[in-house]
Amino acid sequence: MTMKTEVSRRAVLAGTAAGTAALAVPGVLRAQTKTVKIGILQPVTGALAYDGQQGQIGAEAAIKAINDAGGIKSLGGAKLEMVFGDARSTPEGGTAEVERMQAEGVVGIVGGFASPICLAASQAAARYDLPYIVDVGVADSIVTRGLKNTFRFGPGFGMVTKTALANLAKLNDEAGKPAKTVVLVHEDGLFGAGLAKLMQAELPKLGFEILDTIAHPTPARDMSNIALQIRSKNPDLVIPSSYYGEFALLARTMQQQRIKPKGIYAVLNGAASNYRFVKEFNEAAQFVMDCNHWHDPRKPVAEALRKQVEASGKFWTYNIPLNYSCVGLLADAIEKAGSTDKAKVTEALAASTYAGHIMPYGPTKFVDGQNQGGAPVNTQVQGNDIKVIFPSDFADAKPVFPRPA
């Protein structure tokens, strides 16, 4: 009963607000080409600014592509209009921007990047039944809270780890099981520590012996001690889960200390599938493998976008195709709904079978907000390029493992 009263009170409020807005909007606006506002939320200042800026590139490219192709056809060619919000690398920052976007009348929000931001922002959006599409945030709790408005296009933590471990076992088996011992290196936050815990439980089942688990803070000024410990343990494999700066330092220090394990197999690593790393530390980056988000190299749109990004002097990272695809997904839902009504767009998202994205996922299918096709791929740095080595049906290179001495 209480629930019901609350809902109707909200509906009344919403109705009043809409009525007031309609009164306030002068006729001039209605005469112009209709636009549909969508919210793009990224952390473009603070600690996560680099990732946020990369995500923004993808989202803007998608909006431009959709508008150039005639906008939302079911709404008479209405153009998408971006309402950009800076999450300032904090959950509070994300929440504040969601409130502002709601006030500006967006139909849905895409982005968030980090799990804590995605958790807080999608919750804030849920209060307005505002559709929220998570671009990257991998924490499994994002889609297990039962929020009807929240959709994650990419894979979650559990899925990534499962794939990473399965592919590692496959890689090792195909090479004749050269790797038996492992040292885990991880950053000590939610992401790195959580991943290390899963690895510690799962790796022994696959026949690997964990010699040591080394945690480090972010930012770390020096990786020499970690390199020393790795050398004293002399593992076959090093599995690092760190952000960009720390992994770059570790890879450099390992090379400088002449530590050459048979393989470096990163999971959701900040550097291992980043072209900046490949360019600036080419020697140290050789044959580093990663299990991470990656675009589908078979799709011409993806490759064209990549060329366009690289031509503008930016580096290609997974944030770009993920956000490009998520914006496409939202636009597709608005198209199918034929309306900017939030409930109808949410419904269209839940029933979405969007195939126009540039990730290797197949058409979207959401179960409790999680896209079932979302999966990571394995990449490896080979020469000056980052190649896909798994899954084999669209891999553009064979894995080099163990790495040549």
Partner: protein, 290 residues
């Protein structure tokens, strides 16, 4: 338990990291000793200098070690100008105003870097980055050994400058008693600016020594300055030998704590020492009584 050679290698690593801390702490302690303020812009200045080294290498192709002299002079000049024409006039004779102005400056510098270079992590590739000295039980990275040598040399030169030259004597006079120094005909505003310039020059040298093995982001400097502040307190506010020895000590403590308690807890040792010093000898190891 770790083998003795690993512990020895960790101590050497700590000394080399500590030598870079020393340069940053020297600048901080010098400014504190003379102007009696904590320079909050110190971290941002370090970041700016690191970007200067990056730009010199990436766009002009100047090696960080060759860039050392021009960048150091440039930052001395910038430090001088900023103190003489911005911080000094804005302070209106009140020390706490200087504090706020440096805080404001740090915000301006950091955001300027963010807007110019975006939040990207950048590093430079130099041919000798992976050169190392083989000690049998460990490899010492050549750029870090060079940093150690240069840092000791700079500390020595700074000490000589303060004790042996007229400018140094004037700096010490102003530090002790600025009214008296002014009465003796010393241009206090000039000496303040020279000191601030020297502080900036120290971080510029640190930046040149860091960049061959480190990376830079618009927030990179802050990680170093917090440690440098601990060192200044440990060594005694305003003390040059205190800053040098404190830095080497803190470097080794951090390295060993990292090895034994895990890298995440490496900083605990530093801050435990910080608290102990504040409790037992608040003036620091080499500090004069306030």
């Amino acid at each position: 338990m770790f083998a003795p050679d690993i512990i020895l290698a960790a101590v050497l690593n700590g000394l080399m990291t500590g030598s870079v801390y020393a340069l940053i702490a020297l600048g901080l302690t010098l400014v504190y000793g003379v102007l009696h303020i904590i320079n909050f812009a110190h971290g941002a200045t370090l970041t700016a200098a690191m970007f200067a080294v990056y730009v010199a290498q990436a766009t002009l192709g100047i090696d960080p070690y060759l860039a050392l002299l021009p960048i150091t002079l440039l930052f001395f000049g910038l430090g001088y100008i900023v103190q003489r024409f911005v911080i000094g006039p804005a302070s209106h004779g009140e020390d706490r105003n200087i504090l706020l102005v440096t805080l404001g400056l740090s915000i301006v510098i950091e955001n300027a870097m963010l807007s110019i270079f975006r939040s990207d992590t950048r590093s430079i590739d130099v041919p000798y980055a992976f050169e190392s000295i083989d000690l049998g039980f460990t490899f010492l990275a050549l750029p870090r050994v060079a940093a150690f040598g240069v840092a000791l040399l700079v500390a020595l030169l700074l000490g000589l400058l303060l004790t042996g030259t007229d400018t140094g004597k004037a700096i010490r006079a102003v530090a002790k008693e600025k009214t008296g120094a002014a009465l003796a005909g010393i241009d206090v505003a000039h000496i303040y600016a020279v000191t601030f310039g020297l502080g900036a020059a120290c971080v510029a040298i640190a930046a040149c020594l860091l960049m061959p093995t480190f990376y830079v982001t618009p927030r990179a400097g802050n990680a170093f300055v917090l440690v440098a502040f601990t060192i200044v307190v440990l060594g005694g506010m305003g003390s040059i030998p205190g800053a040098l020895l404190g830095a080497l000590f803190i470097g080794v403590v951090e390295s060993l704590c990292g090895l034994f308690f895990g890298e995440s807890l490496g900083q605990i040792g530093i801050f435990l020492i910080f608290i102990l010093v504040l409790l037992v000898k608040p003036t620091g190891l080499f500090g004069a009584r306030a």
